[in-house]
């Protein structure tokens, strides 16, 4: 069984090299040594057909929301009120939505399960945001609620 496991990567590499002759050779080769010179010969990044900056913009957006949320924590302590309440509702929901989205991307595979999971996530996030806003409007608000809870 161990011999099979070791033989399979070689076979896969050969199959991939064969298909790589027909397609753009990405970092597919099993031999890492072959990858290094290929990476060097890349030159300036080409924004060609089928590329988009969406992923990297998403990444930047994630960091921005994380920092915003971090800043809201002392704000919630020092100036509790509706402004911080609603900002917290928005930042918390978005941060959680994107975070859970990454978890789905990592662990859910297959076109249909991915679509189902992401749809469910959208619904959950929408409900969460609605519920938090409702709480801020009709009830005491997030900052006050945390303060009250901790006074227990």
């Amino acid at each position: 069984a161990l011999a099979l496991l070791r033989a399979r990567p070689r076979g896969a590499a050969l199959a991939l090299l064969g298909s790589a002759l027909l397609r753009r050779p990405a970092a597919l080769g099993a031999a890492a040594a072959r990858c290094a010179p290929a990476r060097d010969s890349h030159g300036p990044p080409r924004q060609g057909h089928g590329s988009s900056k969406a992923a990297s913009l998403h990444w930047t957006g994630e960091r921005a929301v994380s920092m915003l949320l971090l800043g809201l924590l002392p704000a919630a302590y020092l100036c509790p009120g509706p402004a911080v309440d609603y900002s917290l509702a928005a930042a918390l929901t978005l941060h959680g939505h994107w975070g859970l989205g990454q978890v789905i991307t990592d662990y859910v595979h297959g076109d249909v399960p991915i679509k189902v999971a992401n749809t469910g996530l959208y619904i959950l996030s929408a409900l969460t945001f609605a519920g938090l806003c409702h709480f801020n409007y009709q009830d005491v608000g997030i900052c006050k609620a945390v303060a009250m809870l901790w006074s227990l």
């Binding site: 994380s66 975070g99 297959g110």
Partner: protein, 107 residues
């Protein structure tokens, strides 16, 4: 020209999930390291906190009474200080871990 990364990934997953090949042990045999453990804890606390927030907001939408009412009910239970401390700790600990480790990721 050629395939996109997404196409290559989905082709890989379609072929491999169809063949039902056994997966060689990975998490069960690989030696745990601190970075690994911290990373998965960050993810675990994140998911738990997110689900907690969602549960709270669903409660805000569905439950009939307002927050002070339910808080008064909990207060009326007259739980011991130890239990209250444990409850607060179990809320604050994952929150703190995720926050501080998150800062570490941002830096």
């Amino acid at each position: 020209m050629g395939t996109t990364a997404r196409e290559e990934m989905s082709r890989f997953w379609e072929k491999n999930s169809r063949s039902n090949r056994p997966v060689s042990p990975h998490v069960s045999i690989y030696k745990w390291s601190l970075p690994m453990a911290m990373s998965i804890t960050h993810r675990g606390t994140g998911v738990a906190l997110s689900l907690g927030v969602s549960l709270f907001s669903l409660g805000a939408l569905l439950l009939p009474e307002h927050f002070p009412h339910y808080l008064a009910q909990v207060r009326a239970l007259s739980l011991g200080p130890t239990l209250i401390f444990l409850a607060k700790f179990s809320l604050a600990a994952p929150f703190s871990y995720h926050t501080w480790n998150g800062i570490r990721h941002l830096v």
